[in-house]
Symmetry: none
Subunit: 425 residues, 2 copies
């Protein structure tokens, strides 16, 4: 790595607005900007939301530019009394707000195109702090502001997402790229492993990378019953960063083994469907605990119909007998929540749909025990040309998490069965 | 309003985590907390996101408690090396981290319930800064932290939303309420109406309330094929605010008619299941376009099994014939995406499960046309003791939005059918 990579640009994001602060709007702009800045190799020191209040905006701007060189503001550029971003920037810099004649005539032109006069209040959108320049808004009336101030640069963009995206891409991004270094991510996606087991498997690697200054770095993100391993490297360009990632990725893959089902934007359901498709196999699902969510997840994938023939949600016990052909004796002897029943469900649905593979779930989602079995109990059944088997698991959490994790677990049991069938182990 | 209302508690929210800063996760927690704080009459001075970095966390904590009396942190309490919220709090307060024997034994108990040993790394979740106390986590392994420090109080909550919601409600909210003025919301939930139609129906009311100073105020929030009408009033106490809401709510209900299916935390699936249960009716669903999501949504509701007998996902056309008994001639003459087929599906699934009502979906989720029908086409079929009918709709958006809206539309078609059957219209 060369010297330059160590001097990454630091940036912050500041959203202005009570409606974001109090959660009437979720701050998707900050997430989008965070993604963009990460890809441009810009490091973020903080992201914040402040109220529609001139002194509060000015204070947040001053603090942000004390930590970072670049500040990107969103919102507060509209025509109402609550739109105070221009005022806040001017106050922070100790600059006056002056009406810009060019912006004023742009406003008149825009409104006349709509056969309207400019409402008096809208003229504030033509104001700029002395020393700032306007950023063109190709999609709306509020121009942005580029303001070199307090030893850095503040960019004020509109709060409306598509206006903000365009202005950032057209006017801000070109000034950021090429300054710093580039950050490249590789995500390894695991299923069927607890987050702590993933962290444990990679503990030595993480320790060693920390000792080497944290480039590349490894982070763990657990959600919905899956753990993602994110390897991040920084370098002067994409190729150098990728070169740093390669050996770490190879070592992580070796440590995690079949726990890894995919990379980057892969999904577990997509990988399972693709594996089946490669082998010319079809699938049908029988769901009790997951109640349709398993089929729903598989059919999220465009083109799923060439593999997934369909499914049966056998929520009522009678449906397990009538529609899936689970023998009454099996239900009586072992209960609906059992390895025996879930195997019969998988075999039944495979048979009903004439599919290569059958996959079934049964268990206890809660809030109450069922057949004396605890909340979180899951049985997964797999039936295929080589026979049938079941796995039973105990999932943490409450009803929604148990159901979501059960979908992931069922898909992962099938995925591992397909790997084992293939390797003959 | 009395004097007390002018002395509101000031609070800030700080989310810890690179994955939020760089937009891998949208900060929904901050929005939820902002809403809760607003309802509790707490004023927010700032909300922020900081990286997984101990000095950065400590600095953000110190700054926040310089502006506000209450700081609520989310995230960074997990078992991995990246989870540094405890460390950041300790550093900001100049306090040591000490392992708590009670928390240590809680961890052991939780893991033994899952038949697992505590991974070495997880023990860091039993650490607390000296002077802090633990907040119980009823849904996960990470306890929260309550830490009186720097002249205020910091509450560190988990980043996992449902764990955070519970801990905030149980352990933080009771310490906040009663300080300032109170904001009360009433939400009216509509389905089967476009947002613009809802806004149109209430336009005069909105105008009038604006003229009266915006207390109460009406806002529209559209998502997932539904539009919520949020009526917000502010007053010195809950009763006075509720008194302001009542007449506005009555007028809105009159203007929106059967478009309103419920209030506040009602869900469309919950209302449909409750209506069926009241009438002693049962339901079975047949899904093509929605591919399991409709059954999945209904089975989200605890106790759904007393009404929902089950469903059939007939993704492959052959499954529509074999499992649902849709006549081959119907499929040949009208196609799978048609009123005729969806009626036959609803009748077929009603018959197979022996349910009072059958509900079916067919359509085109995209990305490609099907049978020459455009992406977004939806047919909903309803079969019951009084006969069958179909509705066809055209839904906007792409595959994920179309599938989600189709679930809502199907539930709403059934809901309206049940209302009409009941009123005999």
């Amino acid at each position: 790595m060369n010297e330059q990579a160590l001097h990454a640009v630091h940036a912050e994001v500041l959203a202005v607005g009570d409606e974001i602060l109090y959660g009437d709007i979720i701050n998707g702009n900050a997430a989008w900007l965070g993604n963009q800045l990460s890809e441009a190799g810009v490091r973020m020191t903080r992201s914040a939301v402040c109220p529609d209040d001139e002194p509060a905006i000015a204070a947040a701007v001053t603090e942000a530019l004390g930590r970072a060189h670049i500040l990107i503001l969103t919102g507060g550029l509209g025509p109402t009394q609550d739109d105070l971003t221009r005022e806040g920037l001017a106050r922070a810099a100790g600059a006056e707000l002056v009406r810009d004649p060019g912006l004023e005539s742009d406003l008149r032109r825009r409104f006349s195109e709509l056969n309207r006069n400019v409402p008096e209040r809208n003229y504030q959108q033509a104001d700029l702090p002395v020393g700032a320049t306007a950023l063109p808004n190709t999609r709306g009336t509020a121009p942005g502001v580029r303001f070199p101030m307090l030893g850095g640069v503040a960019y004020a963009l509109p709060g409306v997402p598509h206006e903000m995206y365009d202005m950032f891409t057209d006017s801000v991004l070109p000034e950021l790229v090429g300054h710093g270094s580039v950050i490249v991510h590789r995500i390894l996606r695991t299923a069927g492993m607890w987050e702590s087991a993933v962290a444990e498997a990679l503990a030595l690697q993480v320790e060693e990378l920390r000792g080497n200054g944290g480039n590349p770095a490894i982070a763990f993100l657990a959600s919905g019953g899956q753990t993602r391993v994110k390897i991040t490297a920084q370098g002067p360009d994409r190729a150098s960063a990728a070169t740093l990632i390669a050996p770490v990725e190879a070592a992580a893959l070796a440590a995690l083994g079949t726990g890894v089902y995919g990379r980057d934007n892969d999904t577990l359901e997509g990988v399972v469907l693709a594996t089946l498709r490669e082998r010319g196999a079809t699938l049908a699902v029988a769901e009790s605990l997951t109640g349709g969510l398993l089929a729903g997840r598989l059919t999220d994938v465009p083109g799923a119909s060439s593999v997934l023939l369909g499914g049966i949600v056998s929520y009522a016990t009678a449906a397990k007998e009538d529609l899936l052909g689970v023998p009454a004796e099996t239900l009586a002897a072992h209960g609906a929540v059992s390895d025996e029943t879930v195997i019969a469900m998988a075999e039944g649905v495979r048979d009903r749909f004439g599919a290569t593979m059958g996959l079934a779930t049964s268990g206890v989602a809660g809030p109450d025990l069922q057949e004396g079995k605890p909340v979180g109990t899951l049985h997964v059944g797999v039936a295929g040309p080589d026979g049938s088997f079941a796995r039973s698991l105990r999932l943490p959490g409450q009803r929604p998490q148990i159901r979501a994790s059960a979908v992931v677990s069922a898909l992962d049991v099938l995925r591992r069965a397909l790997i084992n069938a293939h390797t003959g182990s």
